[in-house]
Every structure is written in structure tokens, then in C-alpha cells.
């Protein structure tokens, strides 16, 4: 039950982090004298959702994933773990660190007048969105790797 909650909460917070980053990207591209508060709120939202994705995903990965890993490795898609999970579990730290940096740069610089700071925020948002979408996709492949393996095991069991 807790495993099911964690497995849905983790990508859900990941998606919310992507949406918050897209919101920040749009606010930064249209930075003006009136949207400073929204910029800061969006930057903090990105960091908040990314940390929640880390906590929920981390809890699931450490406690429940070892069983699923063994299942995936016995199935027809071992690359779901050997490549996609291995890359995903370390690649995740890149958007995490960048998301922790966003509130710092957004809070300390006026993006409507400082084009340099705006350029950095836009760059970081683009990187976070791109990498996070890859991570979401990798999560789907890992899930499929486990599902295919479970199906195969069930079919073998029925044949016996």
C-alpha cells in the first residue's frame, strides 16, 4: 500500500516540478516590474517539488526497488535497470541541484533589469525541463521492464 503511494507520488511530484519550471521559464522570459513575486514563488515551487520527488522517490528506491530490480534483471528487459535506472538515479541529482540554485539567483537579482541573471534562469529552466522529461520517460521504461518480467513469470507458471 505504501509502496503504491510512493510509486505514484514520486513521478507526480516530478511532473509538478516540471510544470513549476515551465511556469518559471515563462515568467523569466516576460520578467517585468510587476511579476517579481510570481518569479520568486515559481522558483521556490520548483525547489519544493523537486525535493519532494527526491524524498518520495528515494524512499521507494531504497526500500522497495531491490525486489523489483531482481525481477527486472531476470526478465527480457534487463537494460531497464542496467541502463535506465542506473542513469536515472544519478542524473536526477542534476535537476535537483539546479532547482536548489533557482531560488538563490531569482531572489537576489532583479530579472526585469538584469539580462544576465535572466539568461541564467532561462538556461537552467530549459536544462531542468529537458532532463526531467528524460527521467520521467526512463521511469516508464523501468516500470515496463518490471511489468514484462512479471507477465513472463506468470505465463511460465501457468504453463507448468
Amino acid at each position: 500500500m505504501l509502496s503504491d503511494f510512493l510509486i505514484f507520488a514520486h513521478p507526480a511530484f516530478g511532473v509538478l516540478a516540471i510544470l513549476a519550471t515551465t511556469w518559471l521559464l515563462v515568467e523569466a522570459m516576460n520578467a517585468n516590474a510587476t511579476n517579481g513575486f510570481r518569479l520568486r514563488k515559481a522558483a521556490w515551487s520548483v525547489a519544493f517539488f523537486m525535493v519532494l520527488a527526491l524524498l518520495f522517490g528515494g524512499q521507494w528506491y531504497v526500500v522497495y526497488y531491490p525486489i523489483e530490480k531482481a525481477v527486472i534483471l531476470k526478465g527480457p528487459w534487463p537494460f531497464a535497470h542496467n541502463f535506465f535506472m542506473e542513469v536515472k538515479e544519478h542524473l536526477f541529482f542534476i535537476p535537483l541541484i539546479l532547482s536548489l540554485y533557482l531560488p538563490i539567483i531569482v531572489s537576489r537579482n532583479k530579472l526585469e533589469t538584469n539580462l544576465g541573471a535572466r539568461k541564467i534562469v532561462i538556461t537552467i529552466c530549459s536544462i531542468i525541463i529537458g532532463l526531467s522529461l528524460f527521467i520521467e520517460g526512463a521511469g516508464a521504461i523501468i516500470n515496463e521492464g518490471a511489468k514484462i518480467s512479471y507477465k513472463q513469470t506468470n505465463m511460465q507458471g501457468e504453463q507448468k
Partner: protein, 105 residues
């Protein structure tokens, strides 16, 4: 200095440089613990799991290094365009390092 190259504040520059370094260290640590299992075991012994230690390492390095770089005032000459270039380079190195390592090894 062209109009769009503007200096950002010292703390943002310091933590930006810290992010650049942390991302590369993250990739190096991922490869090192895969290459050398005793390191992975040692990291696992520091918390309940090597991945938790890795996460703590990255977060602590980012904030500690950012604060240290800020204290040294060594980033005064860095402008935003340089930081953007460093960010792209560090992303390229860290992503291709991770993808390349786990694809070929």
C-alpha cells in the same frame, strides 16, 4: 562589455560556480562507486544506502562549496555569459559521462 553581459550578485555567482563543480563531482562519484565496489560499500555504511549518502554528498557539497567560493570572493570577474557557458559544459560532461558509462560498461 556588451549590453547583455551583466554582472550578477556575488552569492548567485558563487553558488552558480558551485553547481557547475557539484554536477561534475556527482558524475565522477557515480562512476567511481560503480568502478570500485568498496567505495559503494563504504558509502552505504555511512547511511542506510549508498544512494542516500550520494544525495547528501551532492547537497552538502553544493551549499558548502558555494558558501566557501563566496567567502573567497574569487568569482568577482565572472560574468553571466561565462556562467551560462560553464553550465552548458558541465551538463554536457556530466550527462554524457553518466550515459556513456552505463551504456558501454
Amino acid at each position: 562589455m556588451s549590453k547583455d553581459i551583466q554582472q550578477i550578485d556575488g552569492i548567485s555567482t558563487a553558488f552558480g560556480v558551485s553547481a557547475v563543480i557539484t554536477l561534475i563531482l556527482n558524475t565522477l562519484l557515480a562512476i567511481a562507486k560503480d568502478l570500485y565496489p568498496p567505495l559503494q560499500k563504504m558509502m552505504a555504511s555511512l547511511s542506510t544506502h549508498h544512494w542516500i549518502t550520494h544525495a547528501i554528498f551532492d547537497i552538502v557539497i553544493f551549499f558548502a562549496l558555494g558558501y566557501f567560493i563566496y567567502l573567497t570572493k574569487s568569482t568577482k570577474t565572472i560574468n553571466s555569459d561565462q556562467l551560462v557557458r560553464w553550465l552548458y559544459s558541465s551538463i554536457f560532461v556530466s550527462v554524457s559521462g553518466l550515459v556513456g558509462w552505463f551504456f558501454f560498461v
